[in-house]
Structure formats: structure tokens, C-alpha cells
């Protein structure tokens, strides 16, 4: 069936050494629980969940400990049973080493589950299903950790043409998806079938790179043996050529369907949606088994004695895993993710999170320090390999020159930071660093600009208000002095007579007249003053006067409803 399918090709891409064999030799192992689990509350794109446990609480495995903060957020759970020993700030698995709120649990070793109940999505409304998935903490496990419940939505078309399941796994060293497909094919297929129903998709295409023959065979075998024939007829395993970054969501969608989803647009508007295989399996576990996302498969590779894949409880310190795999001397860094897009970790105590698909123990021999950066010679190698069809060297020149407007004109934000350009650059320029720099500068400037706009608006409004208050005060003062005498002179009878007038009370009438009089006086005064020294003015002064006049006109316009008609 695959032979008949027409595949498309994305532009560019590279073929680095894959180094996948080492970690793909042994089955997925379950490491023993560590003595402490540190579970960061913020593990997905979006809002940070609120802690709903406190120190001393006993928690069960699967118990929610962090409640989603709004719609764009995802809950977090206790990965095993035990006691909460701390709710405090701890360093995050991020190069910045920033700290986030974490719940630290001392496992009791009994691994006691909550009462896990399957979720009957067929009886639930789409909204209920999405809320359930949010509370089950299901997020994209390909590394982006976007809350999945937001994507389990066919969009405005109401149905999907193609649901793409991403088993390409194009990053070197990483084999967690490969092993998942080999060992958990049945559950994965069930997950895909559930998602197909939820998304109302015509067909499901599971894309796997052709360097994973075992996974392809296992998935095909599992499909033919699947009990739910009707659902599985719509699922197809598609072998795609191995070329980094074929596992990029947009690249895989392009390869499988020919559709290019532009930056910043919803893929559902184009009739497609893409999920990682790990996410599909997590959805199966959440819906059919009632189990929230508590663990994930992590590849440990690089400078370790026993590289392999582990089903790791979220919150496990990375050191625990590295020691389990036999740490070798000489490791100078830990990388989370692959060598093309991974991030260097601040230390080995940071916990495994939902985004941790791989931990790489790096050595100078494995990842040598880059040779000195040379000037760009505009050879165009980077443009040849860019999967987003960008001109990376132009972005580099503009970023370097801090011409950020130009970088945006040249589609900086379409860059997926896959690293292909830097990988091939003969001048060894860390191109992606330049794009990260430009992007963060642009974000910072946008924030600054927003803040400045807000401040300016506040300032202008204050000026306006002060000027208005000044005028009102002047008018009031004038009214007071005049009205004092008038009031004294007015007899009760007159007042009674006036009171019979249906529209205006005497006080109001007098006040209005007085305000008008005061304003008239002010205007006359202004007119008298104005012609004085307007002959020899500089342009700036003229502009200033014009601006002041404009502001006055504005104030007059504002005051108008409260005044009697002028003419």
C-alpha cells in the first residue's frame, strides 16, 4: 500500500550520522524510583498550573498536584505514591537554569494508584473530552509540549482530511519513539483510532523514517491483527525517506500530504493535524486506562556504559538515570534532546519532564567545540539545506547588523531552528544563535514598545484630565463668586417661580449660565492674548502651538456636552 502512495519532498535537509544503534539494542527498561521526585508544575506551553497539595500531604500515584491555569495549560500529577516534602522553587531543565515552582515527593515505594477509570469519550461532549485530556496532563511528547487537548479539535472545518502521526524521529541518537512503536504498537494503534474519532479524520497516516525497519514491521503487523478493523482501515503506515528534519511537524505534513502549513496558521485550516507517537500513546492511556501522563520514554545515550531507553517517572533527577546507565568519566555536559536541537542542561540534578525525549551525555570527543567562526562567504550552502526555504545567510547578515526589521521581512519567524544551516556552514558560523538573538531582541522590543505605548497613553490621559480639571476648577470658582451674590439677592418667591419651570432648576440654570459666561471670558481673554507674538516663530514653535491648539480643541469637544450650544 505504501508503494502506491505518492510522497512529497521538503526542500533541503541534511543527513548527519544517526548514532541510533547504540540505544536501540535493548528493550525499554523501567528504572527503580529515585529517593525523591521533583515535579515542576510548569511542564507545557502556556500557564503554570497552581499547586493543589501542600507539604505533608500524602499523594497517590496519578493524583493531580497541579491544576491547569486556564485553557492553555495542562495539569501535572504525582508520578508515584508518597508524601509531599516540599513545594518550592527549583532549577528547571533549561539552559538558563531558571527556577520554577516544583512539588517534591518522597515515594513510599508502594506505587499505590488512584482509582483510575476509563473515560467514555463517545458519551462526552468534545469540550468535556478536552477538559479531561487537559486534566490528564497530556501534552505533545515530541519535545514541544504543547497541550494536546487544544489540538484535539477538528477546527472550523469540523473534520480533518488527514491526521498525521509523527513516528519519523529524525534527530540523531534519539530512539524513544522507535522503541515505543516496536514494543507498544497495539496501544499506539488504539490511541490513533481514538484520535481519529475525536478529530473526525478521514485517514490517519503514521510516518516513519526508513531507518527504523523493526518499528515499521511491528506497526504493520499490529495493524493487520488489530481487532477494531473498521477504525484501522483508515490507518496507514507510511515509510518516509530518512532525512533530517523529516520529523518536523510541518515537514512531515508536507512529505505525507504535500500541504505546506504557513507559519502562524492552524494546520486544521488545511485539513491536517499532527501528533507525535508518544502523544498518541499517552492519549490511549488517558482515555482507555484512565491514567494521566506520569512517565515517558527517555533515550539515554552518549558517554554512558549502557545506552538505552527507559520508561521514566516524571520528576526523576537526570543524575539518577545517568548513574543507572553507567556514567563514564569525561562527560562535560548533559544535553536534553538531540544534538541538532537539544539544549545544554545547567546541571545533572534537574528532573526529567514531559519534554525530555533524550538525555545525551556529551564529551569533547563526541561534540567537539566548534572551530573558530569565519566570515560568511555567501556560498549558499545554508539556503540549499533550509527546510523552511529561507535564505539563512541573509538572516545572518541582518541579525548581525541588528537590522531586525529586515530579518522579519526575510521571514525570521518561519525559522524552526532545526540547525541544518549551521550544520553545513563551511565558515562554522553558529547561525541558529544569531536567529535566537534576533528573535529575542524583537520580542524584547515588542514588549518595550507595548510598555511605552501604555505609558504614553496613560500620560496623555493624565494631561487631558489635569487640563480638564483645571478648567472645571476655574469655572467653579467663577461660579462660586458670582453665585454667592446672586443667591443672596434671589428671593424665595423667585426661586419658587423658577422651580416651576419644568426642565431646569434655578441652581442648575444659574450654574450653566455662569459656566458659559466664564468660558466666554476665558475665550475672549485667549483671543486677546493670541495675536501678540505669533509673527517670528520657528517651525518647532509653530508645531508646538498647533499641537496645543489641537489638544484644546479636543478638550473643548469633550466639554461640549456639558455646555450650552455656542451659536
Amino acid at each position: 500500500m505504501n508503494a502506491l502512495r505518492k510522497l512529497f519532498s521538503f526542500h533541503g535537509g541534511v543527513k548527519p550520522d544517526y548514532h541510533k544503534e547504540a540505544s536501540a539494542q535493548t528493550p525499554i527498561a523501567v528504572p527503580p524510583a529515585p529517593t525523591l521526585l521533583t515535579i515542576p508544575l510548569h511542564q507545557s506551553i502556556g500557564g503554570t498550573p497552581h499547586p493543589i497539595v501542600k507539604v505533608g500531604d500524602a499523594v497517590l500515584k496519578g493524583q493531580r498536584i497541579g491544576e491547569a491555569d486556564g485553557m492553555v495549560s495542562s495539569a501535572v500529577h504525582a508520578s508515584t505514591s508518597g508524601t509531599v516534602v516540599a513545594v518550592d522553587l527549583r532549577p528547571l531543565a533549561h539552559p538558563s537554569g531558571l527556577s520554577v515552582l516544583c512539588v517534591t515527593i518522597a515515594p513510599d515505594g508502594q506505587d499505590r494508584w488512584i482509582d483510575a477509570q476509563p473515560f467514555d469519550y463517545r458519551q462526552a461532549s468534545p469540550l468535556e473530552t478536552r477538559d479531561y485530556l487537559r486534566d490528564a496532563g497530556v501534552v505533545g511528547l515530541g519535545g514541544a509540549v504543547f497541550p494536546s487537548h487544544l489540538k484535539v479539535n477538528p477546527g472550523k472545518l469540523g473534520r480533518l482530511e488527514t491526521l498525521v502521526i509523527n513516528g519519523a524521529e529524525c534527530e540523531p541518537f534519539i530512539t524513544c519513539d522507535d522503541l515505543l512503536m516496536r514494543e507498544r504498537a497495539v496501544g499506539l494503534i488504539r490511541g490513533m483510532a481514538i484520535m481519529r474519532e475525536l478529530l473526525n479524520a478521514d485517514r490517519v497516516l503514521l510516518g516513519i523514517e526508513d531507518n527504523k525497519p523493526e518499528a515499521i514491521a511491528m506497526m504493520r503487523k499490529a495493524l493487520t491483527q488489530a481487532p477494531d478493523v473498521a477504525a484501522h482501515e483508515a490507518i496507514e503506515v507510511v515509510v518516509v525517506p530518512t532525512r533530517y528534519p523529516a520529523g518536523g511537524a510541518k515537514q512531515l505534513i508536507r512529505v505525507l500530504t504535500g500541504i505546506e502549513v504557513p507559519h502562524g496558521q492552524r494546520s486544521t485550516d488545511y485539513g491536517v493535524q499532527c501528533f507525535n507517537v508518544g502523544t498518541a500513546f499517552a492519549i490511549y492511556e488517558a482515555i482507555d486506562l484512565g491514567r494521566p501522563l506520569l512517565s515517558r520514554i527517555v533515550t539515554v545515550a552518549g558517554n554512558v556504559e549502557r545506552p538505552g531507553n527507559y520508561d521514566v517517572l516524571l520528576g526523576t533527577p537526570m543524575r539518577h538515570l545517568i548513574e543507572l546507565c553507567g556514567a563514564r568519566p569525561g562527560t562535560d555536559r548533559l544535553i536534553m534532546g538531540g544534538p541538532m536541537m537539544g539544549v545544554t542542561l545547567p546541571n545533572d540534578a534537574v528532573p526529567v519532564v514531559k519534554a525530555t525525549n533524550c538525555i545525551l551525555a556529551g564529551t569533547p570527543a563526541l561534540f567537539p567545540p566548534p572551530p573558530p567562526e569565519m566570515p560568511c562567504i555567501r556560498c549558499g550552502e545554508c539556503a540549499k539545506v533550509c527546510p523552511a526555504d529561507l535564505q539563512p545567510f541573509e538572516l545572518y547578515w541582518f541579525s548581525r547588523a541588528k537590522l531586525f526589521g529586515k530579518t522579519q521581512e526575510y521571514h525570521l519567524f518561519d525559522c524552526i531552528e532545526c540547525g541544518c544551516c549551521a550544520y553545513v556552514c563551511p565558515s562554522r558560523i553558529p547561525l541558529v544563535d544569531y536567529y535566537r538573538f534576533a528573535k529575542s531582541e524583537i520580542w524584547a522590543r515588542e514588549r518595550d514598545k507595548e510598555a511605552a505605548d501604555e505609558a504614553r497613553e496613560r500620560y496623555e490621559f493624565r494631561q487631558l484630565r489635569e487640563e480638564r480639571e483645571k478648567q472645571e476648577k476655574a469655572a467653579k470658582l467663577a461660579a462660586k463668586t458670582a453665585a454667592g451674590r446672586e443667591k443672596a439677592a434671589a428671593t424665595l418667591a423667585e426661586a419658587e417661580k423658577l422651580a416651576q419651570a419644568p426642565v431646569l432648576t434655578p441652581a442648575e440654570d444659574a450654574k450653566k449660565a455662569l459656566i458659559a459666561a466664564a468660558l466666554e471670558r476665558a475665550r475672549a481673554q485667549k483671543d486677546a492674548v493670541q495675536p501678540g507674538n505669533t509673527e517670528q516663530l520657528s517651525d518647532e514653535q509653530r508645531a508646538e502651538i498647533a499641537a496645543i491648539e489641537a489638544r484644546r480643541a479636543e478638550i473643548r469637544a469633550m466639554a461640549k456636552p456639558h455646555l450650552p450650544p455656542d451659536d
Binding site: M341, A383, Q391, G419, V432
Partner: protein, 334 residues
């Protein structure tokens, strides 16, 4: 500690430049075979000068010497100057050309990657304007006595025995001076410097450059766009006017295999630093050079127009790039 990607493809500017030099070897071999070893002398002279000038300029600019001397870019410029200047030119002409190319056209603009003009072509253009006579004395095929060539380069110049007008020169002189009597066929048919398709001997040198160019294409150091667009535009202009009036306009093959056309197609037009970079831009850029070359060759005052054509298009390269940006992912019209 660096950020991702953590490992890189083994590639370097040096590797690129060395392969360009390697690709020049077949053409140089043919050059030596037909015109003697003087060219080797010029290459050595130009290379030594280039490295010395580059080192001096880098030192003045406070740049790391080892890193930039080893990148090989100065050597490529030096070899191109040696190959585009007459091989029996006096030594100081080559040295002066290299100094201009490296010191002014390259380093004063900021060194590697920063030069808006092709350094070798800047040197050629300046020298042919300043010393038109010396820049037009090319060796005659077969007159390859090294002693005489050595003498021509380093001491007294008794050139009558060893020089000959190049085919382009002969053709232009005849057509421009003899007026109505001369025809292309007449000139080309009765000239000892004319070979099967281009200049005698020169056509083989051009074939050598073609071979080297194919190697560069195979190595993916250059793309097909520029050589094909340049040669096609040159051939198209020549072909059109040759059909229109075969007596006044030389045939396409003559244009392709004389002068510096083949060298330019694969080694000069393709300079990435000073040229256009987008696929469409490369086509426009190189085709522009082809058309300008034909115009200058046919109507201009200089024997070959490639240097001027390249410099003129260098000026246009940024504009060409700006207006030919390819659509990015997701924004293509279909």
C-alpha cells in the same frame, strides 16, 4: 559552551578553496602544454605576493594571521590573476595586480566575504586600463621556450618572436580597421592563431577549465545556474547576430572557446561573495554578464569584456538578490 547544533558537518572555507584550486589544474596543465611553463612562474609569483600582501593587511587590521592565511581565498584570487593576465607579462604587472586585488579590492573592504567586487576582476580592469599594451601581449602557441619567457618576465622584452594577437583581438582589429573588406570568415580562416573552434591552444585550455568546472559542480561547490546562464546568454547573443550577419559577427562556439569565457563561467562568475545568491538571481546575474561580455567584445575597445561585465553585474547583485527572494515554506503559489 556552545548551543545546538552540537555537531557539524566536516566542511571548511579552506576545503572549498582548495577544491577550487584543484579544479583549475586541468586548465593550467593545458596552458603549460601549449604555451610553456611561464604560467607556472606567474602562479608562483602571484601566490607568494598574495600571501605576503594578505599577511601584511591582516597584521595592520589586527586580524588573526594563521586563520585567514590558511583559508586559501588569497590563493584563489592569485591564481585567477595569473590565469587572466598574459603569462609573459612583466613580473611587476602581476605583482601590482595582486596587490590591488588583495589590498584594495579585498582587505580594504573588510577582507574575506566582504568585498562587493570580484578582486581578480578589479585588478584585471585596472591593469588593462593602465597598461593596455602589456595586457594584450599573449604568447603564441608553440613558442614555449622557457628561457625566452623568463627573460620576457624578468628582464628585456624582445617579444616579437613569442607573442601573437589573440583571436578576439585579431578579429576586432580586422573588423574595426579594415572596414567593409574584412569578414569574420576571412579573418578567422587566414589566421595562424585560430584553432578548430576557438584560439589555437586556447580552446584546449578552455576545455581544461570546463573539466574543472564539471568537477566543481559534482562537488556541489557551485550550482549549474551561473555557468549555464552565462554561457547560454553569451552564445545566444553571438548566435542571434551571427545568423543576422555572419560576415560581421563571430559564431557562438568561437565566443565560448576564446578569451576567458570558460574560466569565467566556472571560476569567476561563480564567486559567491560578490555575486547574486538566489537561484533566480544567479540566472539573471550570470546572464547579464554573458550579454555584457558579448557587447563589450563586439563593440568595445578592449579585447575581452568579461572583467568589466563582471564588475558591472557585481554592482547590481544586491538589487538582484533583493528582488528575487524565493518564496518561503507555506507561502508558495501553486
Amino acid at each position: 559552551m556552545n548551543n545546538s547544533p552540537y555537531f557539524l558537518k566536516p566542511a571548511s572555507v579552506q576545503a572549498v578553496m582548495l577544491r577550487v584550486l584543484l579544479a583549475l589544474v586541468p586548465g593550467i596543465a593545458a596552458y603549460v602544454w601549449f604555451f610553456g611553463a611561464a604560467i607556472l612562474l606567474q602562479i608562483v609569483l602571484a601566490s607568494v605576493t598574495a600571501l605576503a600582501v594578505e599577511a601584511a593587511m591582516l597584521a595592520i587590521r589586527g586580524k588573526p594571521l594563521g586563520l585567514f592565511l590558511a583559508d586559501g581565498s588569497a590563493l584563489v584570487t592569485a591564481w585567477l590573476i595569473a590565469l587572466t593576465f598574459p603569462s609573459i607579462a612583466p613580473w611587476w604587472l602581476t605583482v601590482l595586480g595582486v596587490v590591488i586585488a588583495i589590498a584594495i579590492a579585498k582587505q580594504l573592504y573588510g577582507g574575506l566575504g566582504q568585498n562587493p567586487f570580484n578582486p581578480a576582476m578589479v585588478a584585471f580592469a585596472l591593469m588593462i586600463v593602465a597598461y593596455p599594451q602589456l595586457m594584450s601581449q599573449w604568447p603564441a602557441p608553440g613558442a614555449a621556450d622557457f628561457a625566452v619567457q623568463w627573460q620576457a618576465i624578468f628582464s628585456t622584452r624582445q617579444l616579437d618572436a613569442i607573442t601573437m594577437a589573440t583571436p578576439l583581438d585579431a578579429l576586432r582589429t580586422a573588423l574595426h580597421t579594415a572596414q567593409a573588406q574584412a569578414s569574420v570568415a576571412g579573418v578567422l580562416g587566414h589566421n595562424a592563431a585560430i584553432g578548430a573552434v576557438g584560439g589555437k591552444g586556447w580552446e584546449w585550455v578552455a576545455a581544461g577549465y570546463l573539466l574543472g568546472g564539471i568537477y566543481l559542480l559534482q562537488q556541489r561547490i557551485i550550482t549549474w545556474h551561473m555557468p549555464i546562464a552565462f554561457l547560454a546568454a553569451l552564445a545566444a547573443c553571438a548566435g542571434f547576430f551571427n545568423v543576422y550577419d555572419g560576415g560581421q559577427f563571430a559564431p557562438p562556439m568561437f565566443h565560448l572557446f576564446t578569451g576567458g569565457a570558460m574560466l569565467a563561467a566556472f571560476f569567476i562568475v561563480t564567486d559567491p561573495v560578490s555575486g547574486a545568491t538566489t537561484p533566480k538571481g544567479k540566472l539573471i546575474f550570470a546572464a547579464g554578464i554573458g550579454v555584457l561580455t558579448w557587447i563589450i567584445r563586439t563593440f568595445g575597445a578592449y579585447p575581452d569584456g568579461i572583467a568589466f561585465a563582471v564588475l558591472l553585474m557585481n554592482i547590481a547583485a544586491p538589487l538582484i538578490d533583493m528582488s528575487t527572494q524565493p518564496p518561503v515554506f507555506g507561502h508558495k503559489k501553486r
